[in-house]
Symmetry: D2
Subunit: 229 residues, 4 copies
């Protein structure tokens, strides 16, 4: 299964060149050695090496691989995503194409209030009435903004100008190619309890793909508290 | 003058470590030489070296410097800006702070229509009535979105949820630290006639700071057609 | 064939995630489109898009791929190679392992003399006697240095200290993982007539792998004068 | 004092744009705030913020600064140095210039033997006779190699060919421009007890410059066990 839905968005693994052997082999080039058989299971020694590298934060052996993802997510999530500079991006352009009528609307169960101070926020659910109202207000704002956008487009205003009215809840799409080291950095920050709930959902989907492709590396990373090497 | 207004936004040069000598000296380390007097004007030979490096696309000597900018611009401009990965960013967080009621509204004279196909767009002005209507529609949408945002905040909804309704015309602020090589890449792309008008205005302001700090480098870059080395 | 000999060294393509479709598809995400069938030949339109991207220097679509190379080359070549920062490296360690008795010795036909000034060097062959002498002198120096190295090791001196005596002609090995955009930058500089002959030989081997995996991209790049996008 | 000798090499701080305020201010842009007076001492609150950022590994506020170093060190040290990719380098070229007769020779007191296994090496001093012999052997090899090099140059062999015989103990020079975040990563790894002694000496010199320019950041980093944020 290469596509995981995240609400009305998704994370799709478009291509991959990744396995735990590449970690072992690239580390062993330090000793001019490599695993003799790439197609068998990793030995206990191999697994121990991966744990050692993770624990001691020898990061480079985790870079000799690549994951190419195709992601559909709201702009406010993409804005956080693109802050991760070690990786490659190509994104939908609202200058070249008309933005489709697709907006993120949070589930009522996720409407929350913020408690505490910067650096130490916690979030608590709100009562049902407020949750319902909030979702309606967000949804109505999206609808209204898209009406104005469509109207501006119909009147002949350039797409790049008309899109100024669209909220950051609009969906965007992009390709993201990244190696496991940078991916672990992304996951450390974006699956963390302090990350915004909505990007955490996407990061969790990304993590499953990582776990599937590089299970030994993923385990070692989890054992080290998800710190990035 | 360290701050240049760009509409209701700005570009401010917060700190700088840059001069044309650093280009010459870092290039001359190849020959274990350096200019004898850092405080005099560059010699003709120095200027010739900078032109040579630019023309032959020896890029690294242009990296030994740093510009720290403080920028206030709309989110749709910042989104393009942050695609430039070789540089450092810290941005206002709509998770931590309440977004101020500040939105970009285009001048009527800049409302335009789009002609041609992707890769070959041109833009033409629209008639006055449409320009007036478009500005009113954009402005009204901003106002309405901010009302909803404020209402959600007042009701106790978390800032990071409430901000979903805000349009990409909202202003943001960030620090950007970058070297001249990466800056020239940014300027090549973002002062180009194919760049969106609104980011071009910011890029033009950035370019003036670059020209002031590294005039010989800037001249050589212009003579080479603003190609990045 | 995954390994190409370069003198007594080699370039081996260890793994790859690369094809011309990835360029087309990542570019088309700008328009929320993608090629319908990934397994057929590229259409003429696809090829035209790749040429357009190359010519207009839209570089990011060329980043959604990865080549993992295993290289054995002399240290003086590796020193130039590692200057290319956008990519991942793991190298043999002369601190952890004993350096094998393997040194680069140039062919007599490649012994050359240098004519002209920095930035405008040309090289011309030397007469046969000098070529023979030079090769003998280089070879003898390698042999002598390795004797001293072995002696120091035998006396119990740490590997990391003993290796100080070894010349930059010693062979090293490394893994290098890189995307096509960075690869084209490497090839632009290192297959160029101004690059040192010995790294050019390695770069030529790398280029063949690139051409095999991404033939349409390679053609477009050659047509654009091997400029990097 | 801008130059610190390291044996017969040096680390020179050529230019700098760095202070602790830049950390505080770039972090506070998240809240659209900044310190009111850049020229006074940091407040206790400012210091607390820097500690918080370091501890929680918010790395980006430590990037808005730049250090430009001029370094003279042996090639085997430079080889490790250049593995640090986030930073800018320009190095002496043995293709363009004749290599001067300057080689690193270890002090007798630093001649050591290696005990243990990869990942867990320790080093112990050797007895005086061996130390004396080792230094003599290294020194003699340097001298001999340089004689061959000079002879090849005199015979008309190209510099880039002749230099193949030179050992990795030869001195090189380079400019290195780097921000504090990348610098802390360098220092974490290269001042560590597991780093090779010779690069540790250079890293220690670099660290003093860092401490002088950003004392509060340096303290916070030391308190966090020199982990890089």
């Amino acid at each position: 299964m290469n596509t995981r839905a995240v609400g009305t968005g998704f994370v799709r693994l478009d291509a991959v060149m990744a396995d735990d052997y590449s970690v072992v082999n690239s580390a062993r080039v330090s000793f001019a050695q490599q695993s003799s058989d790439l197609h068998n299971d990793l030995s206990g020694k191999d697994k121990g090496l991966i744990s050692f590298l993770m624990r001691e934060r020898h990061g480079t052996p985790f870079e000799h691989n690549a994951f190419r993802f195709h992601v559909k997510c709201p702009v406010f999530v993409a804005r956080e995503w693109f802050r991760h500079r070690i990786g490659s991006y190509n994104e939908f352009s609202a200058r070249y194409s008309e933005v489709p009528n697709e907006f993120f609307v949070p589930d009522e169960s996720t409407i929350r209030t913020q408690v505490g101070k910067p650096g130490a926020y916690t979030f608590e659910p709100v009562d049902d009435d407020l949750a319902t109202s909030a979702v309606e207000m967000i949804s109505a704002t999206n609808t209204k903004a898209y009406e104005i956008y469509s109207c501006l487009i119909d009147l002949g205003v350039a797409k790049e100008v008309a899109r100024m009215v669209l909220p950051v809840s609009m969906y965007t799409q992009f390709y993201w190619t990244v190696n496991a080291r940078s991916l672990m950095n992304f996951l450390s920050l974006r699956t963390d309890v302090n990350a915004q709930y909505e990007i955490r959902e996407f990061a969790n989907a990304v993590e499953i793909f990582f776990q599937e492709q590089m299970p030994v590396t993923w385990s070692a990373w989890v054992e080290c508290g998800k710190v990035c090497p």
